[in-house]
């Protein structure tokens, strides 16, 4: 017998089987919305920078506005990518061990590359 006095709906609401509820789904949407203006800005910048040399690229990355926007684009983009790739792994990889390993590796990769990008951007901006 279930001693919990709450209704099944009340227990399920916002939780889900993993007790995380809609967190993954919500984070994917929030990052998606944030990426709309960032990606438009980045795509236009990329087109304008096509064929640019070392000095031009560094001057661009090192300007304060670009440092902020590029960091946001990369960090939020990696987060969004990691969430999406996790979904792909969960859909197609059925062995629990391999699935968990890949999900952990995806997280590690996203954090590692995100941090590496931040260091590189700061190094360019502050003349390292």
């Amino acid at each position: 017998m279930n001693s919990d006095l709450r209704t099944p709906l009340s227990r399920a609401r916002g939780l889900g089987s993993a007790r995380q509820g809609v967190h993954h789904w919500w984070a994917q949407r929030i990052t998606a919305v944030a990426l709309i203006p960032l990606v438009v800005w980045f795509a236009i910048s990329l087109i304008m920078l096509s064929g640019a040399d070392y000095a031009v690229v560094r001057a661009w990355i090192g300007s304060p506005v670009v440092m902020v926007l590029l960091t946001l684009t990369i960090v939020i983009g990696l987060h969004h990518g990691q969430l999406g790739m996790q979904e792909v792994v969960e859909d197609y990889v059925h062995g629990e061990g391999l699935k968990l390993t890949l999900i952990v590796l995806l997280r590690f990769t996203a954090v590692f590359f995100g941090l590496a990008a931040i260091v590189a951007i700061l190094r360019i901006g502050f003349g390292g």
Partner: protein
Amino acid sequence: MSVANRPVHRPLSPHLQVYKPQLTSTLSILHRATGIALSVGALYLVIWVIFASASPGTYAKFQAFNVSILGRIFLGGWLFCIFYHLCNGIRHLFWDAGIGFELKDAYRSGWIVVAVSLAATIVAWIVGLRLV
């Protein structure tokens, strides 16, 4: 024969190889495919920034790939993935808000996504390659 032992003829789920491709399913698959490509592209973007923070000589090697034929195809394809995933992502956000679920709306928004992402890609290539 009892009810429990009677063979059941349930409908089979539609396997991809026997499933007639539709605009909606094709765009759905393409959304995931471009998403995977962009995840790799994001790593490439980070590598680009890292190379830019290195010496001019190191960056020149990286830039040599970008302006090669292979690099142009890669970056041009990357731009298409960006525009497609962006447009179709916005379509998905409308669905999340409960808008545009009617079949004719799903098809109309689908064709808009195809048209806008292709047009944006072509404009990007023309401007990016300084063809005008």
